[in-house]
């Protein structure tokens, strides 16, 4: 009779493993992916960019890492930072639109520069968030899941 009970436990083991992973994947993803990625963004860009990164549970054993960093006008800065931009023109807003009449930036030698319009040559890929997650953080999450699941199975006597 105990053998039958053990068999029932074994039959449900895969389901219980998946359920355990699903119940904890948010915590593990937060510790192994979200928090390190936020630290990187805070160091490389600023705190606002880091705060724009979050996790969303999208399904069974599925989570999405979402980055939604926008300018005041609602421009998707996360795309520009992640994938870079092509050459484009930048114009000063003007006081009539709530901005300044001239653009200002600091030149290579430290001097201030002003202009109404500039021809931006485009920026290269800056952050590399996607590659970083893919190459570094996902393996860490997988290792965490394996170790946590094995510990759980030992505690639970499978």
């Amino acid at each position: 009779m105990s053998l039958d009970l053990t068999k029932q436990r074994l039959q449900s083991a895969k389901y219980r493993i998946n359920t355990y992973i699903d119940q904890n994947i948010m915590n593990w993803a937060m510790e192994t992916i979200l928090l390190p990625a936020r630290t990187d963004l805070e160091n490389s860009i600023n705190n606002r960019a880091a705060e724009a990164l979050r996790l969303e549970k999208t399904g069974f054993m599925k989570v999405d890492l979402v980055w939604d960093l926008r300018s005041e006008e609602g421009a998707p800065l996360h795309f520009y930072l992640e994938y870079g931009t092509g050459p484009h023109i930048i114009r000063a807003k003007g006081k009539e639109h709530g901005g300044a009449d001239a653009l200002h930036w600091t030149g290579p030698s430290g001097e201030s520069r002003f202009a109404k319009v500039v021809q931006h040559p485009g920026s290269q890929k800056h952050v590399g968030l996607v590659d970083g997650i893919k190459e570094e953080r996902l393996p860490a999450l997988r290792e965490r899941i394996i170790s946590e699941t094995q510990n759980r199975m030992e505690i639970d006597s499978i």
Binding site: S2, K7, I21, M61, V63, W67, D68, L138, T149
Partner: protein, 276 residues
């Protein structure tokens, strides 16, 4: 890695246990263990059973021959006797106690035969007073009786005479017969009680009910003891056999229903408030 929804950067992270080699190995081991349980389970009816299994349940030989977990093993390369638990040697050394026990058994068997001969002797002598034909036939049937009567003829016949000797031996034989018959009855009764499976059989007897309790997982026991898992019995008529019989979750399991659900939670239908 993609951006769904148009304006946010979305990196999907999906975990599949099939992709995790270690988890997959663990699941494979679980499947293997599950199939081995099927082998270990006892089979109903008269079948040859699983010859390769070490399970005690499938063993066809008498259990006191060589039972236990090592039952069913054979072959010269393997130990032909059980493992000596007191030593690290895989082979059990010859047991002096077993040898002595066998000798005692042999002696008991021999003595039993002698007692039987004496009973026959008394019986024959008792009957000899009633008829010489029976006496003559009995001489041929009982070697010991023939020997005694022959000795009497050769040694005492010259002084007392054949008829006198037969009279004395015949009277003594009647009382002897009664005494021997009583002894025989007692011996038969004792043998009956000490027979294999008898009420006084002191040999090792397996009690599967107790063994089942011992095989319970310690964590399950601790769950029950500490109150994390409660086994309830119910007064529900659905689970109750008769008015005086209160049934438990064990009966639910015996009836073929699942006790654990797929989540591994202890699950019994219709458990209500009852005496624990």
């Amino acid at each position: 890695m993609s951006s769904e929804g148009g304006d946010v950067l979305r990196i999907p992270i999906e975990i599949k246990t099939d992709d995790l080699a270690e988890i997959q190995d663990l699941l494979n081991n679980l499947d293997k263990a599950e199939s081995e349980i099927d082998v270990l389970k006892p089979r109903k009816g008269k079948g040859s059973g699983d010859e390769t299994s070490r399970s005690a349940f499938t063993r066809q030989d008498p259990f006191d021959d060589r039972g236990g977990a090592m039952g069913g093993q054979s072959g010269e390369a393997l130990p032909t006797q059980g493992r000596d638990k007191k030593s690290r040697s895989p082979f059990q050394r010859e047991n002096e106690f077993s040898k002595m026990r066998d000798q005692v058994d042999e002696m008991g068997q021999t003595q039993g035969d002698v007692v039987g001969q004496l009973v026959n002797l008394g019986f024959l002598k008792g009957v000899s007073g009633g008829g010489s034909k029976i006496m003559k036939g009995a001489r041929n049937a009982a070697p010991l009786a023939g020997m005694v009567s022959g000795g009497m003829k050769g040694g005492l016949m010259g002084t007392m005479g054949m008829s006198g000797i037969q009279g004395i031996v015949g009277k003594a034989g009647i009382y002897g017969m009664i005494a021997m018959a009583v002894m025989e009855i007692l011996k038969t009764g004792i043998d009956f009680m000490f027979r294999p499976g008898g009420s006084m059989d002191k040999r090792f007897k397996r009690d599967m009910g107790k063994e089942d309790v011992k095989m319970m997982d310690l964590s399950q026991k601790s769950d029950i003891n500490q109150g994390r898992r409660i086994v309830r019995v119910t007064s529900s008529s659905n689970l109750r056999g008769t008015d005086s019989q209160v049934r438990s979750s064990l009966d639910v399991y015996k009836s073929g229903q699942r006790v654990f659900d797929m989540d591994g939670t202890f699950m019994v239908k219709n458990t209500g408030v009852g005496t624990i």
